[in-house]
Symmetry: C2
Subunit: 235 residues, 2 copies
């Protein structure tokens, strides 16, 4: 028999999605997330930029694959018991991933890049809260509250590490400032700001609110179970 498609194993030199993604992640770790370009990634895998387009339909497609690769290994449901511990675990884990891969918040926020794997925390949240007796709509709203809070917080924290404003820009900025346009006046956080504590505080705020919603919601259901059920079915 001749050599069929199935027999032909790719040589070690052949370009694959996986190799490109690994190279991109390494590039982000060393050079920073801003420097990730098709040309740059192609160079690190030793190939022409256009070769990437045989494996990814666009840069967005590459970015989405990177996000998926990061998220596929992440664990968002531990063996915690109770909705509060489950949600705390889930979003602490989510935050940890976002801080480990600072490009992730940007990928999940920006454009239509979010891959299917990005919605694992949503599943955990919905399951935990519905188990606790919360209507689905409210559980979804709670999820978005938590995920928006976490995304923006980690995004902000990651961006703070990079200083910005090279000397050449500063010269012109100061010249303009001399003419009355103050380009400065940037308010600052306390330099020793504890992001971990701030996150835990915010998480506690939200989960305290959830607890209250569950309590008042439960009171409501015992009284007007039929109405609540009808409302849920109507959506």
């Amino acid at each position: 028999m001749g050599v069929t498609k199935a027999d032909r194993t790719p040589s070690s030199r052949s370009l694959t999605r996986g190799r490109v993604i690994e190279a991109a992640l390494a590039l982000i770790d060393t050079v920073g997330a801003d420097a990730i370009t098709m040309r740059g990634v192609a160079e690190t895998v030793g190939v022409t930029p256009m070769a990437l387009y045989n494996h990814f339909s666009s840069k967005d497609d590459l970015l989405r694959a990177i996000a998926a690769h990061i998220l596929i290994d992440a664990v968002f449901d531990g063996d915690e018991t109770g909705w509060r511990a489950q949600l705390a675990f889930c979003f602490r884990a989510f935050r940890a991933v976002c801080l480990r891969y600072p490009i992730l918040p940007r990928l999940l926020e920006t454009s239509e890049i979010a891959p299917a794997a990005a919605f694992a925390p949503m599943d955990v949240t919905l399951h935990a809260l519905e188990q606790a007796g919360m209507p689905t709509v409210d559980a979804l709203r709670t999820y978005f509250t938590l995920v928006n809070f976490t995304l923006a917080q980690t995004s902000y924290q990651s961006r703070r590490s990079y200083p910005g404003l090279e000397p050449s820009k500063r010269v012109r900025a100061e010249r303009l400032a001399g003419r009355g346009h103050d380009a400065a006046g940037q308010p600052q956080l306390p330099s020793g700001w504890d992001f971990d504590a701030a996150f835990e505080f915010g998480l506690d705020l939200i989960l305290d609110g959830v607890r209250r919603a569950l309590l008042t919601g439960r009171a409501k259901t015992t009284a007007k179970a039929a109405a609540s059920k009808r409302r849920r079915r109507g959506e």
Copy 2:
């Protein structure tokens, strides 16, 4: 006397910061936030791109000025009484501005663009919460919880209006999908998702948490019940 500097009023054709900012905002309203470039803004004010650099030190400087222009007129403290009404007013107003100017969340999130005026909501929050007896650190943490939640939520909502994925990209995406790389699988929100209700729900969650923090904080000063409660609850 000759014509001095003070006499020389700028002709109606002269370029000013204000004219550039107005033009940029108009451009954003019509063409969209993504299309705002130095070249594009220059064209709408009828000038060469480099002319802008006599009034702004960089594109970031322009963007910061735009953000400041938007925020300078916004009102974040109404005549509400009580911390809860004050915070609700403040962040409803903040959200309204972010939705009216969809570029704003991106400006406040991205890089070092945030102008001094962006911190007006912080002042309102800190004042209201300190008035209510909350320690400054916790008030700051509460502010960041609220502002991060609001920014991410409005940012997400604004981005949803633009569909994305032109036909040319879709062709290649489908070709790749046929080879086993599913580029799709994008989970969706319910199509009739009520962002206003979701925001109000999240705001309520957080403010309920704040209320609880104020109560336990106050209890701590008078008795030790809160501490023991916390210990029992805490992990």
